[in-house]
Symmetry: C2
Subunit: 142 residues, 2 copies
DNA sequence: CCATAAATGCAACATTGTTGCATTTAAGAT
DNA sequence: ATCTTAAATGCAACAATGTTGCATTTATGG
């Protein structure tokens, strides 16, 4: 995704936030990433440009998620991953893919993670989370 | 599930393990639980009877999973949960349900978590993990 | 009862994330 | 351009979950 600095600023401003260097950097990193990134990966990329505290990055990520500029993706390795959701139109109802070799997580655009299921008596269904496990193109090739 | 002490011993012995008090206790706790338990919940129940080190419980759980006497279930709260799999026949291919209020996780017996999905070019599918979110009977009622 | 490998307990460490609080700063007001 | 102030940041300490190294204890076969 190609995004100029100006439009990243605009995204933040439209959300009603102060435009700060940590926010610009984190959002830019997410927008440029081809897949969901962990806090660790984000911090590494951000710090490559300039120093930002880990706690600040956690808080920026929380803020981005709360303001729907990013998605938070769970995984079985107990580490949150984050995706940019610049368009805001990114429905939160698709499957995710997790490579069992490199651990990378990507959204499976065009899939639907919703289906009515027969639950035990008294249970109420709200939504569904589906993760497809396998090998990504790079790991399958190697 | 009703299980006598003798049969729990047999389960361990058949798996080729020494029969020790921590293993008996942990497996018994899992067999008696109506849903998947966290390490914390297991430790609390085991220690109610006698003192066992946390590390030992982690190692017993690892051992049970490796020997297919238990299943390990991931969740978005970054905490592993464990189910007894006494029959060994418990296919590892069903959906899970997670209550968004109490956090409890149960297996949805009779469901299948496998479906072929169209992946990006070069990707290879191995399996699928499906979690249905909602309210369990108790929380839906309250 | 003995020998021994396996299991346990303990302390220390690792990773991921959170909280409290003092300091700095973006952005509107002057 | 400067000032004011709430918002954002940085830092230190803490919390939860899980792992590793190693000395001690113990279940089991002989």
């Amino acid at each position: 995704m190609v995004t100029t600095r100006v439009s990243i600023e605009d995204l933040l401003r439209e959300a009603g936030a102060r435009v700060t260097r940590p926010r610009l950097s984190v959002l830019r990193v997410l927008l440029e990433a081809p897949r969901a990134l962990t806090h660790h990966e984000i911090a590494r990329r951000v710090r490559y440009a300039h120093r930002v505290d880990r706690v600040t990055i956690y808080r920026v990520l929380d803020w981005l998620v709360a303001h729907r500029l990013a998605h938070r993706v769970a995984s079985d390795d107990r580490v949150w991953r984050f995706n940019a959701a610049a368009e805001g139109a990114h429905a939160d109802d698709h499957m995710h893919f997790k490579c069992s070799r490199c651990g990378g997580i990507t959204c499976l655009e065009g899939t639907r993670a919703s289906r009515r299921v027969t639950l035990p008596k008294g249970y109420r269904q709200q939504r569904m989370e589906i993760t497809v496990k396998g090998l990504c193109a790079e790991c399958a090739f190697a």
